[in-house]
Amino acid sequence: MEKSTIICRCEEITYEEIEEVISHGARTFDDIKRLTRCGMGPCQTKICMHLVNKVIHELTGLPFQDIPLPRLRMPLSPIKLETLATNSTSFYAVKSVLDELELEERR
């Protein structure tokens, strides 16, 4: 493939950049993602997943079934923060620095 070809449309990561990190030991979509930002944009791998897996397959010889899916995460497609928020200000799992301080003092 032409080296300048964009594989990840969102983050504009090229074939060449992916090739480089594969030569550096990356073997899965998520390895490549953390090293290049490929797949970190708004589409969250929806468009580039197959393209990247194909590049891994071609460059490493790994069969497709040994190239796992990238980790797919909520909210699956972009969502406004205010849509997620419920306007409650009581927190259970979410802490603040001063909460933590309290924990320390109790100890």
Binding site: H24, L35, L81, A85, V94, S96, V97, L98, R107
Partner: protein
Amino acid sequence: METNYETIIIGGGVIGNSIAYHLSERYKGGILVIDKKFPMSGTSGATQAWVWVHNKTPAWYAEFSMYSAELYSYLSKKIGDVEYRRTGGLSPFFTVRDLEKAKRLADSYEKIGIKIKVLSREEVLEKEPFINPKVVGATFSRIDGNVNPFRLIDMYMRAAKKNGVHYSTYNRVIDIQKQNGQFVVISEKTTYVTKNLILAGGPWSRELGRMVGVDIPVNQVRGQILVSEPLKPFLNYTISGLRQTNNGEVLIGYSMEQAGFDRSTTLDVIQETANMAVHYVPSLRKAKIVRTFSGIRAMPKDGLPIIGRVPDVENLYVAATHSGITLSPLIGTIMTELIVDGETSIPIDRYSITRFS
């Protein structure tokens, strides 16, 4: 394939990589890093990556964190741009009760020479205009900041490789034996022999310790984080709970759950975290969240780092800690001193694993 090493480091997270890199500055060759997956696939790749001193207690641990933070600017010069920014850290609070707590925090830090300022509402809003005007105040520390964790580990690795460090990835360690004064490390791919063995397994430290008959009391804590789309720069500081990256995304989250190694996200905590975000910075309301993730933190039983020699097992070392991003430059440096020189430039007795026995 080489199977004989001077030093093997198990764990390719930020701690393992920092040790590998710092060690490789002192002696070339003979160092191997083994990771069951690939660096960044575990704890070190799922973090907001604050370089954070601010609320570390007790005070001597804050001091320790401060030394590490101080090493960051120097580190960038050596291994390349890791997008380290000493933005200053700001912890807003919204009740008068917390104001009292904040003052106590500032007082206790003053004794060890770390300056924590308690900002008034007006000072907070001047520094960070988008914070909720209902804010009562904030603690502020100049030394805090953040780093790009992916760049950091990538740069550690590249620098280490340049210095001759070997990596074996996607290679789980199955067993460790001690034979003739050397460690025999049995992995999925092959068996290695090494003089020095460093356990840098983060949340898996307990499991690794078991292989050498050592109890390393490290538990797991889950933190869930929201990632916004990139926005034009608008946050100036690292705020406890959210920060804006160089690329423009806002990382949001300050949650803690006991969930073992389950790194799933739950809408319960995601929505709670969203509530925190709009509470802290109301004008984030319209910003879009593109992803959430979950990180499994390593949490030593008492919250403090476990660093140094393992007594009774010659040439066995352990480096397991929470706040690995903050502490990585210092822990890498200290472990190198300990292995190469036999002593460290700052005392680490307090962090010895012996404290648990």
